[in-house]
Amino acid sequence: VKAIFFHLMPYRDLPADFEQKYESIWVTPPNDELCDPERVEQYYKWNLDELELADRLGFDGIGVNEHHQNGYGFMASPNIMAAALARRTPGNSAICVLGNTLALYSPATRVAEEFAMLDVLSDGRLIAGFPVGTSMDVNFCYGVTPTETRPRFREALDLIMQAWSRPGPFTFNGRYNQLRYVNPWPKPLQKPHPPIWLAGGGSVETWELAATEDFTYSYLSFFGYQHAKKLMGGFWETMDRMGIDQNPYRAGFAQQICVSETDERAEQEYLEHVAYFFKKCLHIPPWFFEAPGYRTRRSTEFAIKTIQPGDVAAMAAQDKDWKTLNDNGFIIAGSPATVADRLIEAAKTLRFGNLHALLQIGSMPNDLTEKNITLFAEEVLPRIRGLWADDGWKHEWWPIGARDRSATNA
């Protein structure tokens, strides 16, 4: 398993009555009331310190992502953070930008340029992540027409792949991007291009794209591995149906993880911060999740007719006590041995080779986050790293410039 420390960069000091007083953590939380730039200055420093620590301690990768007007992640430009990290990560971990929300950029050659810059700046350590993006970011914050979300994503992806693989200059006549001269300086260091990772919440179209283009797919959920069984099962069935092998490194999964010396101590140290995340950071009204038209006709039909109405609401309404969160797999928490055992179970169940380890959760302060990162790196990672080694699978989607730690630390 490749382990990536994935940082959401949340606001760590939301008011106690936040979820009673405000409609949503995303799109509309009023900035002047809730977002103090002086505190954010401190957060950004901590966030980068934490990511740099993970690099020094031997994580395979460090991960950043893009969200807008969002109290649990206000990394509006992950590329800025990745640029800072590229210069301060002597451990040569992969830099996983998961990713740039393609539909937001017009022309999308901006992404081809910035990712190429990052790849060169990091000496070939970039993982280029291309999520479709959430309805909150794409439709509500950036005003993209919901029915254009996927067509814009597909066209942008096509343009970027051409910009990286074809000699420039060439002409691109798209529906949303009309460019007489496509000729980015520079092109990426990795040839023909950095590894491409898709990310999403489980749309059939995205899985099929991963299969046809040989991209990886990461399921980014906050509801843990047990809830993800059905969905990742659908992913692997799609791979099978389309004649693609079952290489576990094709799949990634995001999991909230809390490590301490013992199971009991984990609860004492982390419960408050995990509860903060589930109560405040996921406080999003259902209408922001999916503007009509965000999903295709086919996916809307699939979603409405297969998911029981109220499923998500029921999940959100569940008690957020330590036992429930653990039993349902929303978090994997405890001693290093407990955490390693459950991660191996999760990886085997979902068949993933890329773990996006969420180790800074909600209000978790800097010192506790660094403890979590350190214990994970020193005591959990060595136990899980070799999981797929015996099966002979090769990771074909890992950046060439990032150090391969599998041999040294297994």
Binding site: V27, N139, F140, G143, V144, T145, P146, T147, R175, P285, W287, F288, A291, P292, G293, R297, T300, E301, I304, K305, P309, G310
Partner: protein, 263 residues
Amino acid sequence: MSTTAMPAVGERMIELRDGKIRTHLMVAGQGEPLMFLHGAGGLMWDPFLAALAERFTVYAPEHPGTGSSEGLDELRGIWDLVLYYNDLLDALGLRTVRMVGHSFGGMVATEVAANNPERVSKLVLIAPIGLWRDDFPIPDIAGISPQKLVELLLYDPHGPLAPFLVPPVHDPEALFQAAMRMASILHFIWPIPDKGLDRRIHRVQAPALIVWGKQDGLVPPIYAEEFASRLRQADVTLIDECGHLPQLEQPDAVREAVISFLG
């Protein structure tokens, strides 16, 4: 003509552009042609349309992508939509029509009348969208709860109409239809229903009647004046105890005003 017997409602499917666009219409009545364009709530044959069909031949299409009409992907914006409605009128053999539009349908009717003034003889706009004032922003219909939307739409949000406005949570087909209908309307107006009508509306030649609910919480009645002031000839009828769905909430008053205007 009897006022008690409802005219029979026929259904038609019109294919355009080699079948890429298929339009479902309800057709009823006799007399001069009248086209009714529905809003985001979708098309239903209500007493208001039945009353119009007593005097006119009513053609009521479902907008592309809503109900049984297909072909939204062929239409990328409001300009494509206006040309599509011209094609539809051609396919129906209608050179000139009276146009009645509600909300989004009012915006489209005005666009058609502005682009092709010769095709629209009279224009009835019931709480149309299409203009924008920063001091009276129209709420985001996709960004609020269903309950809040009902409160904005109706003068009496606890009245008998309210249950019909929210698709039942346990009816997947109804939820799917509502989502597709809304997606197809938002396709043309996201994120703000101001797509340049202000630069075109002066071209409308047809005499217009503007009907508005005094308690319209979605599109405030101040917009009646915004429309009237830009049209060459426009009467405004404001209806009391009435929200954004006047033809449903105050059908008698709306019918009376509209029939008397259309003659």
